[in-house]
């Protein structure tokens, strides 16, 4: 079982702790580089998330696991209604926010890409929709979100079951290979609608896997 401060760090960041708890966290941070790293990741994600529309992701698979299993309740009888944390910058939520960033920033591109594949244009308008490639800004948004999530995953790595970490890393390797192949193909045919949408789906899948991994419960 880990002695790190996952749960307290979020509250610490939000200035929700009482004086004694805050002092305890700061004393721990002074001696624990891993928790300091986690805190820095959280702070970076908070800065990024602060610029976002806080729209939830379409599919949030693991929040339930993280919330229910990650907690070590000491009461003999559990609350009858699952406790809902009010909004706070926990790692999973920030990860979700990072995903929301990408979702938002790519929505327009997706629409444009789909239109590019449409066979006809409105009669009489004379307008021709040119094929639109996955833009640099979109790619940067993905790269930023992926980088943040990878930092968060690195910070949590020692707290997760080694077998699960191995599966996650193998899956990321598979996805990275797909992304590399899609990018290579796009370099030769940058306006190909299929290749653009294919790359975007691969990036989405990578975000999805990372987000799941960051939200996984701590191994016992």
């Amino acid at each position: 079982m880990s002695d790190h401060l996952d749960a307290e760090l979020s509250a610490y960041l939000d200035d929700e702790l009482d004086a004694a708890a805050r002092e305890r966290v700061e004393a721990h941070l002074a001696t624990c580089p891993e928790c300091r790293g986690t805190l820095e990741d959280l702070q970076r994600l908070v800065r990024r998330a602060g610029t976002l529309d806080d729209r939830p992701p379409a599919r949030d698979l693991w929040a339930g696991i993280a919330e229910r299993i990650g907690e070590q309740d000491t009461a003999d009888v559990l609350p009858l209604v699952p406790r809902r944390r009010r909004f706070a910058f926990s790692v999973p939520q920030l990860a979700a926010a990072a995903l929301a960033l990408v979702t938002l920033s790519t929505a327009v591109t997706m629409l444009a890409t789909r239109r590019a594949g449409a066979p006809a244009t409105p009669a009489g308008t004379g307008a021709v929709l040119q094929p639109v490639s996955l833009g640099d800004q979109t790619v940067r948004s993905y790269d930023g979100a992926i980088s943040d999530l990878q930092h968060a995953l690195t910070a949590r790595r020692t707290q997760l079951d080694t077998g699960t970490v191995r599966v996650i890393e193998q899956s990321l390797t598979v996805i990275d290979a797909a992304i590399a192949q899609a990018r290579s193909a796009l370099a030769r045919d940058p306006n190909n609608p299929y290749l653009n949408s294919h790359l975007q789906r691969a990036l989405d899948r990578k975000l999805d896997v990372l987000r799941q991994a960051v939200a996984l419960p701590v191994a016992s």
Partner: protein, 300 residues
């Protein structure tokens, strides 16, 4: 207004569990039955072990648990029953066998937890990390996710969203909409009669067997895996095929409409009257469009 029914039962159970927990060889068992009315809800959280949920014909939820070192808590309010295992160091496995009324909504969360659910008509939500999931005879909607465990679903009548990162996903006999996804695992969708079906995997193979509804929407994609459709009966569909370096093999005539612009990567053609939309994508794998056999597809 909620009523906490079995406080004394829960406390007694917890006490019994705590009393037995420190002894490594001790085999603890609890067995409790809780009356429910109408649409009940069951929530189970078990870090490791097994959870088996089946339906019985009583308006009660019965929970049995066997374990060596864990704390098991059963609480209820109104029609909601919560079952939770808290862990001790060492062997934390808890094996649950739970019987519920048919319409109960079931939610199971686990880590190294194998889950089996059968006959439930209510909504089913299952999330596990490395456990395997087996579910059958589900009438309500289902959301089932695993990281590395295999998932096998049989006879699903509601809509289902199912995924495993590295495990294999098999859905046999689905009448509702199906959304399936994996990274390296294979996706096998057989005997599907739902009209909105999608499957996505990165390196795994994807196979679909079933009918194509005239107004249906079907989207299957893989990066390096093969995508195979075995279609039973008459098919009226517009088929879009996209690939980068893969192949298309078809038992059906592929006739491009006059004037169609042919791309090296994408084709679109029509089968029958073209009502349904089928989108098939594989970056480097083979896309196969096959006539299904009676043994693998249910004819209507």
């Amino acid at each position: 207004m909620s009523t906490r029914i079995p406080l004394c039962v829960a406390a007694a159970l917890c006490g019994a569990a705590l009393a037995g927990a420190p002894t490594a060889q001790a085999q603890n068992r609890i067995d409790t039955t809780i009356a429910v009315r109408g649409a009940a809800q069951l929530s189970v959280t078990n870090q490791s072990g097994e959870v088996h949920v089946r339906v019985w014909d009583r308006t009660q939820i019965r929970v049995t648990a066997e374990y060596d070192r864990a704390r098991v808590e059963v609480t209820a309010t109104g029609n909601r029953v919560s079952v939770r295992s808290s862990t001790w160091r060492g062997d934390n496995d808890v094996s649950y066998a739970i019987s519920v009324p048919s319409g109960t909504a079931v939610e199971v969360n686990g880590v190294s937890t194998d889950v089996t659910v059968s006959g439930v008509c209510g909504e089913v939500t299952i999330q596990t990390v490395s456990g395997e999931v087996t579910a059958s005879c589900l009438t309500g909607d289902a959301s089932i996710q695993s990281v590395s465990g295999d998932v096998a679903l049989t006879d699903v009548r509601g809509a289902v969203d199912v995924g495993s990162t590295s495990g294999e996903v098999v859905v046999r006999g689905a009448r509702g909409d199906v959304t399936a996804h994996a990274v390296s695992g294979d996706l096998t969708l057989e005997d599907i009669t739902g009209s909105q079906v999608s499957g996505e995997t990165v390196s795994g193979d994807l196979s679909y067997g079933g009918r194509i509804a005239d107004a249906g929407r079907y989207h299957f994609q893989s990066h390096s895996g093969d995508v195979t459709l075995r279609i039973a009966g008459t098919v009226n569909a517009t088929v879009e095929v996209s690939t980068f370096s893969g192949d298309l093999e078809s038992d059906f005539p592929v006739q491009l409409p006059p004037g169609t612009r042919v791309s090296a990567h994408e084709w679109q053609f029509q089968l029958g009257t073209g009502g349904a939309r089928i989108k098939l994508e594989s970056f480097s794998g083979t896309i196969e469009l096959r006539r299904g056999s009676a043994t693998t597809n249910r004819e209507e």
